[in-house]
């Protein structure tokens, strides 16, 4: 198996990692860096549980090779809270009751964070469009959408 050494920034830390060339970014985060907040749902780019920010944009980390990430800047759910304080989105969605089993939550937080970054005042419809790729089987989305809407006001 061919390996590759890559250097990238993950949650503000510079990391140098030796990765097998068929390893996905998701596998690297979970297995090499022990960042298990990012979840493996479908492995096919459908469910969004593995969503992370790559150079500021949300991507499905199961659909990115780690080897492609040389020089990239990655933010996972672990990188959203600063100094022990949850981000606005995290706080608002938790308060709105938008978390049940929690499996979709890390990816959902990343998608919502990216949405508010590009559109600080989204409509309900825009929020729903932004989380099309984040499947939640518990909440029915209603409380998640409410939480994101609240976060926009904070």
């Amino acid at each position: 198996m061919a390996y590759q050494r890559i250097t990238l920034t993950v949650n503000d830390l510079t990391e140098t990692v030796d990765v097998p060339q068929n390893m996905t970014l998701l596998q690297m985060l979970r297995q090499k860096l022990s960042l298990t907040g990012t979840k493996n749902g479908c492995s096919a780019g459908e469910c969004g549980a593995c969503t992370v920010l790559m150079n500021g944009e949300p991507v499905n980390s199961c659909m990115v090779l780690a080897a492609e990430c040389e020089g990239a800047t990655i933010v996972t759910v672990e990188g959203l809270a600063k100094n022990g304080k949850l981000s606005k989105v995290q706080e608002a969605v938790a308060k709105a009751g938008g978390v049940q089993c929690g499996f979709c939550t890390p990816g959902m937080m990343i998608s919502a964070t990216a949405l508010l970054e590009r559109n600080p005042n989204p409509s309900d419809d825009e929020i729903r469009q932004a989380i099309v790729g984040n499947l939640c089987r518990c909440t029915g989305y209603f409380r998640i959408v409410n939480g994101i809407k609240e976060a926009a006001k904070m």
Binding site: G45, V59, S111, N134
Partner: protein, 297 residues
Amino acid sequence: MINPHPGLPELEYVKPATLVEASQFLAEHNGTAKPFSGGTDCFVRLRDGVLKVDYLVDIKGLDGTKELSFDPKKGLTIGAAVPMNKVATNKDVIAHYPNLAMAANSVASYQLRNRATIIGNICNASPAGDTIGTCMVLDGVLNVHGTDGFRQIPLNSFFLGPGRTVLKPGDVVVSITLPVPPAGMVGVYKKLGRNTIGDLSIVGVAVLGYPNQKSPSGYTFRIALASVAPVPFEALKAEAVLSEKKITEETIAQAADIAMESVTPIDDVRGSARYRKLMVRNLTREAITEVWNQLSK
């Protein structure tokens, strides 16, 4: 227990520095190497075992693949490494090719469109490719680099069958050029999925129309259909009706009927052939009507 989350099979990641190097490598490893950009299609097929390769060749660093530019004479050029979200939010695309932005936005989810590309959508040659029909009716031409250098392939002669194209060993599609749209063009993309957003298409209909003094009706329409034949294709006979006869509710219905007769869909998990046929008629009628309402305003 079967592992529900298998990783990618063993393969090597290759990132060539130049187009010449890329074409050479792909030609030398014909059948065992595949170019990729976003990987959103080929990673899934690699995991499912449908696609088998020894090398994945990353084309994102190659000259011309990051280009996204509009020239008022030449038109729009979209590089093979430009993700769909970049296309759909580009101000020139929104101003001159709003139907392309519409088609790109209909693909999967936001985070997937940050990786998925128009060229990838085209090269996978899926009958369901959402952006293919719109690129077709916009007369897209692919800029391809092969072992003999550059050449151009018009999109309407690119597809041979599901997943099959005229590309030869060593070919890398660098970009697509969409000429400047005809003056007064109005275009839409209508997609029917199992849910409103995020699904693959059961039927996809791309329609554009523009005023044209040379055609008897005073207008020219272009209609491309996806998911209802081995490859996305243009419904030429339906288009002819709209250029030959005065455009009325009846001629639009007639064109939609002819479009329905021109398709050869299959039954699959997303819909039956019969349902697809009927939906081609309904969506085509809807799309033409929408375009016509704007044109005749």
